[in-house]
């Protein structure tokens, strides 16, 4: 009996967290009483501590002291009850089989079998192409239950697995969202929810998703070797307008003079003179004036064909880029323990 108590004490001493992590003096005294093998006092102090406002870590300590102390005093029912509370608070915390007595381990296992919890949720590190590879999500369910595994984060929620399990189980995620797109980079929560009747328990863990760079093709604004041609051109200045004005004016004015009835008098011929003068001035001004740009049909047609070629090529590039974006490499790693709950 004395030897067993010594083993229990050693186990608790080696597995217990440092005292400075405990905030409550009562919890600290209960731990000290247990360490001195004063189990009744340890139980009494632990019970008193439960009436206080305790942190989560202190509550874990209290139920652990209670479970071990009741176990040391052969109070199996009360030890199992304390371990059940401990399991709910810290599902992943369990006695070290190398350092505690088989009896206490047995009592803990008995408590574990009475409650539904998801334990030891972990994600393997993996690097794979989204949709083609997968990452393994490992967990344990204490009792037979339907376990649903979800990945939540970055505006994404995807159910990756749902199965009836007992004990250790594995789910896989191919890295795709519900819409089939590769998951965006960032931190995600992996939630494994076990449901058995009206009992439900969710075990979380966090992962980080990093995306490899995607080598997409740039869209084209031009085709190599082809350049857009100006669609208008300013014709060179020429004397055609003046020439036409001289021709028309000369023909009509000359004909009018030639046809004039010499037996009649048309006076100073102001009409033909003034209109001819205006026509010639107009022709001169239009010749000197910088010509207006005019469209170049051949260049317009060339540019239209070139634009069609670029649009067609960009459609192909867009399709290729969509395919490449689907081929993104994901690196999934468990998040550091400090950020995991």
């Amino acid at each position: 009996m004395r030897r067993r108590r010594l083993l229990v004490w050693l186990a608790l001493t080696l597995t217990a967290p440092p005292l400075d992590a405990q905030q409550s003096p009562t919890v600290r005294r209960a731990r000290q009483a247990y360490d001195q093998l004063d189990f009744p006092n340890a139980i009494s102090l632990a019970r008193r501590a439960l009436a206080e406002r305790l942190s989560r870590d202190d509550r874990i300590q209290v139920y652990e002291v209670l479970g071990y102390s009741y176990g040391a005093l052969d109070s199996a029912r009360q030890a199992v009850e304390a371990f059940r509370q401990l399991v709910f608070l810290a599902p992943d915390r369990e006695p070290d089989v190398e350092r505690v007595s088989p009896r206490i381990t047995s009592l803990y296992a008995s408590a574990l079998g009475q409650v539904l919890v998801v334990r030891k949720v972990s994600v393997d590190s993996a690097t794979f192409i989204a949709g083609e590879g997968q990452v393994l999500i490992r967990y344990q369910v204490s009792r037979a239950a339907r376990a649903t595994t979800r990945v939540v984060g970055q505006g994404v929620e995807v159910v990756v697995d749902s199965q009836l399990v007992t004990g250790p189980a594995v789910a896989t995620w191919n890295g795709l969202t519900r819409t089939g797109e590769p998951a965006p980079a960032g931190t995600y929560q992996v939630l494994v929810t076990a449901v058995e009747g009206r009992n439900e328990f969710t075990g979380p863990t966090e992962i980080r998703v990093e995306r490899g760079s995607v080598d997409t093709l740039p869209h084209l604004t031009g085709l190599p070797g082809y350049t857009f041609q100006p669609e208008t051109e300013s014709p060179p200045r020429n004397w055609r307008p003046l020439g036409l004005a001289v021709l028309y004016t000369g023909l009509v004015a000359g004909a009018a003079f030639a046809l004039e009835n010499t037996s009649l008098d048309l006076g100073e011929r102001r009409e033909v003179g003034s209109v001819s003068f205006l026509a010639l001035v107009t022709g001169l001004v239009m010749s000197v004036k910088k010509p207006d740009p005019r469209p170049v049909p051949a260049n317009i047609q060339y540019n239209r064909l070139l634009r069609e070629q670029i649009i067609e090529r960009n459609v192909q590039i867009a399709a290729e880029n969509r395919r490449r974006r689907q081929q993104v490499t994901l690196t999934i790693t468990p998040a550091p323990a400090s950020s995991a709950r």
């Binding site: 036409l244 004005a245 028309y248 009018a256 009835n261 037996s263 048309l266 209109v275």
Partner: protein, 212 residues
């Protein structure tokens, strides 16, 4: 110049017209008119001015052109005479059978007030029209016509009756507004009972047009 010469001149104008004139559906305009009118001999000449208006409708290859003018003329020659009012209306319908080159048919009527100050004249014209753009905003045109079936209030007939015209227009690129100047010359060798009583008139017009 003979008839052959007129035809040759019109052909030259047509050959010099390489481009089609810009299409415009409807134009109307207002013009100031100055004219010189003479008849019978060198002593009978009158000059004056007035207002005129134009309306033209272009549809495909057809162009319907109507114009009118009213003017007050005063005697300027040595032969005396009285002042009179002249009211003239002309209608021309042309069909472009080639770029910038069209055949033209039409009629005209000139009324004089007081009635016998000179002759009222009615004509039917057959002719050619050539219009060519100098650039996007300006154009020149020329026309020549032979006047057939001339009728006069004082009777008589005319073996030779011709009409010449030319003009220039400058407007906005969209064709909405245009200023234009026109010259028209008309010679009618009227004979009454074997006696020559010719008519001759030169008209200058300057105005603006609105196009739609």
């Amino acid at each position: 110049m003979t008839r052959r010469g007129i035809v040759l001149a019109a052909a030259l104008v047509g050959l010099a017209a390489p481009r089609a004139t810009p299409a415009q559906t409807v134009r109307f305009g207002l013009q100031g008119v100055g004219l010189t009118y003479s008849e019978i001999d060198q002593g009978r000449r009158a000059e004056g001015g007035g207002l005129g208006g134009t309306l033209s409708v272009r549809w495909r290859r057809f162009l319907l052109d109507a114009s009118g003018m009213g003017a007050r003329l005063d005697p300027k020659g040595d032969g005396g005479g009285t002042s009179f009012d002249l009211l003239q209306g002309d209608v021309r319908l042309s069909y472009a059978f080639a770029p910038s080159f069209a055949v033209e048919i039409g009629g005209g009527r000139r009324a004089i007030d007081p009635e016998f100050a000179t002759q009222d004249v009615g004509v039917i014209r057959l002719g050619l029209l050539s219009e060519i753009a100098l650039n996007q905003i300006s154009a020149v045109w020329a026309r020549g016509a032979y006047l057939v079936g001339s009728r006069f209030s004082g009777g008589g007939s005319a073996d030779l009756a011709v009409e010449l015209g030319m003009g220039v227009g400058v407007g906005t690129a969209n064709g909405r507004f245009r200023g234009r100047a026109d010259f028209e010359f008309q010679r009618i060798d009227r004979e009454v009972a074997g006696a020559a009583v010719p008519l001759q008139m030169a008209v200058g017009k300057l105005g603006v047009e609105l196009g739609f």
